[in-house]
Symmetry: C2
Subunit: 226 residues, 2 copies
């Protein structure tokens, strides 16, 4: 039996899952849009971010109302505060998917991604989408092992990011500066998107175990930014 | 006369101001480090970010304790929740200053910034530091006019960012791909840093007026990403 209070708490969790699904789909569609130079798809990703923003506002309003009305303490309080943070991560992920869509639109009818980098960008886009799908699953299942697995997946994103940079720094790079700039920004967007998915999963770990995920995996490779 | 509760609330505000001052100083020092190829200064910026992270953890713990113990409602609740968000903005700004420091370290003994872009990067760094100083002032004074002024300043950051891109896209660019990548990332770091400073100020506006800053300045130029 769930009381009204826990139903509200659950509905906040549902909102987070919906946000994660929307932004996961958005990064997948944005990747297709930029690889295929598909303007319509790009436009739909760009316009679709409003729904994510609306969901976040709605979720925040409900979380704050819950705090005011029910005045939760201990674990319940931590859940509500953590939900606010997760919604911020997911909202930002939506922005990053939108950035990929905007870059696709900016370069249309060309594609921003040269042919020899298609496979790498496709992998980054797919991995980003998978990471977010797993983050959604972690929110639902509160599965700590799955959450820790996201960090391993993120190592793969770092590897792809390094591959991208190796291409950029290769003396045989022949796509010019504009494309180098585009690819640099794209790489950054996917990497940050993955960071936010990992962050969502880590926050669930903290809720479940009371320990920061970093403390559970001391041997994990640190994400190295620049 | 302030009771213990409002003293706690004030001390959270003080923590935010201290974070803003630290990250404002960090972006200034990181800019000097990258322009002068000063390794020691870069290292100090990189190491200094730990203090910002500690401050955030401390501030969050105090905010959550306050929620649990005092169970604020209405305006006071909004202040605490908004403080959590501002601390996240400031923590992220610290990361971005650290990224600039890491890029300075990576390219040492060279500088990542070619001579003809020194002036633009210096301006971006100075503007970023000024924006954060104003954000700190807005936290202290709750001055809505000053907060709205930050958005105008951010237009100047967008202008500088465009200047940077014009240099990059100029056919006469002669600094190669690696430097183009570095400059692209640097531009992104400063732009995001400025976004976070503006975000902090906007959150204060929302606290004071109950309206989102965007609604107060319908004519303001939207920040265009990509």
């Amino acid at each position: 039996m769930r009381d009204a209070y826990h139903e509200e708490l659950d509905s906040i969790g549902d909102g987070l899952v919906e946000m994660a699904r929307l932004v996961g789909s958005a990064i997948g569609r944005a990747t297709t849009a930029i690889l295929d130079a598909d303007l319509k798809l790009a436009e739909s990703v760009i316009a679709g971010d409003e729904k994510v923003d609306d969901l976040q506002h709605d979720l925040e309003a409900r979380a704050i109302a819950l705090l005011a009305r029910q005045q939760p303490v201990a674990t319940d309080l931590r859940i509500v505060v953590t939900s606010l943070r997760m919604s911020a991560d997911l909202e930002r992920s939506g922005d990053l998917a939108q950035h990929v869509g905007k870059l696709a639109r900016l370069r249309f009818p060309d594609t921003a991604v040269p042919g020899d980098l298609h496979a790498t960008i496709l992998e980054m886009g797919q991995l980003a989408q998978r990471l977010m799908a797993k983050a959604a699953e972690v929110i639902i299942t509160k599965d700590v092992d799955l959450a820790l697995q996201l960090e391993q997946d993120d190592d793969e994103m770092d590897r792809l990011h390094r591959t991208l940079f190796q291409h950029l720094m290769d003396d045989r790079w022949k796509h010019g500066i504009e494309t180098a700039v585009d690819v640099t920004l794209l790489g950054r967007y996917y990497e940050r998107f993955a960071d936010h998915a990992v962050s969502v999963a880590k926050r669930v770990v903290f809720l479940v175990t009371g320990e920061h995920a970093d403390e559970l995996t001391p041997a994990a490779t640190a994400i190295e930014d620049v």
